[in-house]
């Protein structure tokens, strides 16, 4: 595992061509990945700012820095941006685009132009949904779930926001379609399915969920638009429609969407842990199967968001049972990751710290999910801060931390530069402490009965809100430090070897940053993924 392997190819890197047009018209999967990264980090920072303002408002009781309409718009936009513009495309659009073809030994994805189109759809969706800020009667105030009939009655610009999300959904479908075809058609010689690294596997499972679940969101949002424009009546109780049907359709997509968010994150963790333990992954097959299992069972549990909605008792019991089943593949993954540390040679670099924190935080997220699956408790904690806390543990402690882990892990490969390791660790510690102070307090508040989406709170919740807000400051300080560190790293002139961490997947065999064509000669694979010992694969 030499960390100083020399550049295996003299070809110019994919950054070689300059000019705006070379970026905006590119069909290179790596450049599209970078485009996604830039746009998504921007959306993340904006969404984070919204969150900071919400926490500030909750620092005191009663109206202080904003009016209820502003607050309601903030939590809606925070949700829409973080979910549809950050975590759903998240790892698959950034790292999937950049690394999937390289990791399976291909020169690009199956449909490069479609790939670019998908980025444009994503950006126009973002533009359309954010344009609701400035058009009509202001940004939507419904919450990101757009529940009917309020979303049909409110005078705010729900139509625009929903149309934006529709476009983003379309972009997500195209990415999924592209990845499936890529993995079926473009794996290099010798790379059979069971030799494929786990990140591509996770993307494969994700892609199927994207392809099969997103259309439901599409039609649901389309119907919301039609309702608002033409009063079709399908969701509107004053015409005869059933608001619960909306919830079914919405969660039929939006629950699997949670797995669209978390699966690639799990995939990235499955890459990082073996690399820094310097040994093969424990239970490769189990992780592959659990990825597919999560994708399959995860699509069957949506109605656990609706236990108090007045569904039939049969449906309630069925969905509660299925919900507990989906916890199993996640547990299997956690066990396998931890077992991968056994008899390894563990190096605690910043990506590894984020990855281990992921395991801890995701476990809390997953375990708090069990409370909600249990019917009796669900009645109590549904629609409270407990859900908000749980969701942030899974989506931020899970996907968010995995995203940062992946970013620190693949950063040298993507940019051919390096961030400051020491600053990265300081930032990590701040984020980790702030995160837990913020969201663990949310769990407690929820158990005490603090409902979500409240502009104001009762006196008995006040202490909790103060702690949470202080946590948000610590976390944001860490996040900003992390971003500054990563941006500063881009300007530090260093040469990065092809394989700085000692990884064994194909992306570490190409130079950093990779050449335009990825590979001069397509590699031929002759052994399973993650063969570290006894023979360490050196770059060809």
């Amino acid at each position: 595992m030499s960390t100083a392997a020399e550049s295996p190819t003299s070809e110019p890197s994919f950054y070689e061509r300059k000019g705006i047009a070379s970026w905006l018209l590119t069909t290179d999967h790596k450049r599209i990945g970078i485009l996604y990264l830039g746009s998504m980090m921007t959306f993340f920072l904006v969404g984070m700012t919204f969150g900071v303002f919400m926490r500030l408002e909750q620092l005191t009781m009663g109206p202080t820095i904003m009016k209820p309409t502003t607050y309601n718009a903030l939590f809606t936009l925070h949700g829409v941006m973080m979910i549809f513009l950050f975590v759903i495309p998240g790892l698959s659009a950034v790292f999937g685009n950049f690394f999937l073809p390289i990791m399976i030994g291909a020169k690009d994805v199956a449909f490069p132009r479609l790939n670019l189109l998908s980025w444009y759809l994503f950006m126009s969706g973002a533009a359309v949904s954010l344009s609701s800020l400035f058009t009509g009667s202001g940004p939507p105030d419904t919450g990101w779930s757009f529940y009917v009939p309020y979303s049909l009655r409110t005078r705010t610009n729900v139509t625009m926001a929903v149309f934006g999300v529709f476009l983003i959904g379309f972009s997500s479908i195209i990415t999924g379609l592209n990845f499936i075809t890529t993995m079926h058609r473009l794996r290099t010689k010798g790379m059979n399915w069971m030799r494929m690294p786990l990140f591509p596997w996770a993307l494969y499972a994700t892609a199927w969920v994207q392809v099969l679940a997103t259309p439901i969101l599409g039609i649901t949002l389309l119907l919301v638009m039609l309702e608002r424009l033409f009063h079709l009546g399908i969701f509107d109780p004053s015409i005869g429609g059933d608001p619960i049907l909306y919830q079914h359709l919405f969660w039929t997509y939006s629950h699997p969407a949670v797995y669209i968010m978390i699966l690639p994150a799990m995939g990235a963790i499955s890459e990082i842990i073996p690399t820094f333990a310097h040994r093969t992954i424990f239970g490769y097959k189990a992780i592959v199967l659990s990825s597919m299992g999560i994708a399959a069972i995860g699509s069957l549990v949506w109605a656990h968001h609706m236990f108090t909605s007045g569904m039939s008792e049969v449906a309630i019991v069925v969905f509660s049972l299925l919900t507990f089943l989906v916890a199993i593949p996640s547990a299997i993954k956690v066990f396998n990751w931890v077992a991968t540390l056994y008899k390894g040679s563990v190096e605690l670099r910043s990506p590894m710290l984020f990855a281990l924190a992921f395991i801890f935080l995701f476990s809390i997220g997953g375990l708090t999910g069990l409370f909600q699956g249990a019917l009796a408790i669900n009645v109590h904690i549904h629609d409270t801060y407990f859900i908000v806390g749980h969701f942030h543990y899974v989506m931020f402690g899970g996907t968010g931390f995995a995203f940062f882990a992946a970013l620190h892990y693949w950063y040298p490969k993507m940019f051919g530069r390096m961030y400051s390791e020491r600053t990265a660790i300081v930032a990590f510690v701040l984020i980790f402490i702030g995160f837990n102070l913020l969201y663990f307090t949310f769990l407690v508040l929820g158990l005490q009965g603090m409902p979500r989406r409240y502009y104001d709170h009762l006196p008995r919740f006040h202490t909790g809100h103060i702690w949470a807000t202080i946590g948000s400051w610590i976390m944001v300080a860490g996040l900003l430090l992390m971003v500054i560190n990563l941006v500063r790293g881009l300007f530090r002139k260093t040469t990065i070897p092809a394989n700085p961490w000692g990884g064994v997947t194909l992306e570490w065999t190409v130079s950093s940053p990779p050449p335009t064509e990825n590979f001069d000669v397509l590699p031929v694979i002759s052994e399973p993924a993650y063969t570290f010992n006894p023979v360490t694969k050196e770059p060809a």
Binding site: D141, S320, T323, Y342, G449
Partner: protein, 311 residues
């Protein structure tokens, strides 16, 4: 948590404790093992890493044990939940009406209130009805929650087991004043409840829609509280979602009609128009958010009388 204010609280808390014990044990275990392995096999120690590809028996064990534990959680959660769906026959039925942004409660004898009064130890069935959008009826102390869905009548029930006042909160985002859609449950002793229930201190108003007599400001005030006007209009001059009613009558107001600004005097006619067709004339500086209320002419007259009565 762990207050036990209703007969359902204990059942929820028992399941909570069961799952909490298991999950905390799991979390501590996995974290401990993780930290131990990181330290034991750290890079600097010089141990050689080994490729261990997996262990079928281990995989089966850590699939099987969680499966069994999860199923017990499911079962325990479900059996205790069933209690909430089986309403005792002798329960008193109270009709709960939710609107943006207020609750009202109608008792079997027609009495209407904006806060819920119940007798200690007596089961109460709540039939939930929404006049506009989704709401959520939630009493944290009782661990009871149910969505209030327009066009569909949901129900829930509870049996209070502790004297005192408990918060009612709306849990489904329902608009600007969602976080102020609060009320209280007053749990009082059986004999106090009977006295209140059969007493005449607070006469039910809306069942009395008799012939119009002289407008009655006192009745207007009750409508003001019961029909949710109070959620958006203050009577002390403070600015809420809608304009305050203090000093409203006879004052000059600037309204937007079809996009034009018009200044007019707030008289009986104007107030009645505003109640019947809220979006027609919206006071400048306020959003057109007022819902249409189902009020009779007499109700409106009484409300106007109440507004006149205000200083």
């Amino acid at each position: 948590m762990f207050g036990g204010a209703s007969s359902f609280s204990g059942k929820v808390d028992a399941v909570f404790l069961y799952i909490a014990a298991l999950t905390i044990a799991f979390l501590v275990f996995i974290t401990f093992v993780m930290i131990y392995l990181v330290i034991r096999y750290r890079r600097g120690k010089g141990g050689k890493a080994q490729d261990i590809h997996g262990h079928l028996l281990l995989e089966l064990v850590w699939t099987g044990i969680p499966l069994v534990l999860f199923l017990t959680m499911f079962y325990y959660g479900w059996t205790n939940y069933r209690y909430l769906r089986e309403v005792p026959r002798d329960a008193m039925v109270v009709q709960v009406t939710a609107r943006q942004w207020a609750w009202s409660f109608t008792y079997p004898n027609g009495r209407q209130t904006s806060e819920l009064y119940v007798a200690l130890g007596r089961p109460v069935r709540l039939d939930l009805k929404s006049l506009d959008v989704l709401h959520g009826f939630y009493v944290p102390a009782f661990r009871v929650k149910a969505d209030v869905v327009p066009g569909k009548n949901n129900y829930t029930w509870f049996q209070a087991e502790q004297l005192g006042d408990f918060d009612i909160e709306c849990t489904v985002m329902c608009g600007v004043n969602h976080s102020y859609m609060l009320s209280k449950v007053h749990v009082i002793a059986e004999q106090d409840f009977s006295a209140w229930y059969f007493g005449d201190s607070d006469v039910p108003v809306l069942s009395q829609a008799g012939p119009a007599g002289a407008p009655d400001p006192a009745r207007g005030e009750r409508i003001f509280k019961l029909k949710g006007c109070v959620a958006c209009h203050s009577t002390d001059g403070s600015k809420l979602v809608g304009p305050t009613w203090k000093g409203l009558f006879g004052s000059q107001v600037t309204v937007l009609t079809d996009g034009k600004e018009v200044t007019l005097t707030a008289d009986d006619d104007y107030i009645a128009r505003s109640i019947h067709h809220p979006p027609k004339e919206v006071v400048k500086g306020f959003a057109p958010q007022m819902p249409k209320a189902d009020l009779s002419d007499r109700d409106v007259a009484d409300l106007v009388a109440y507004i006149k009565f205000l200083p």
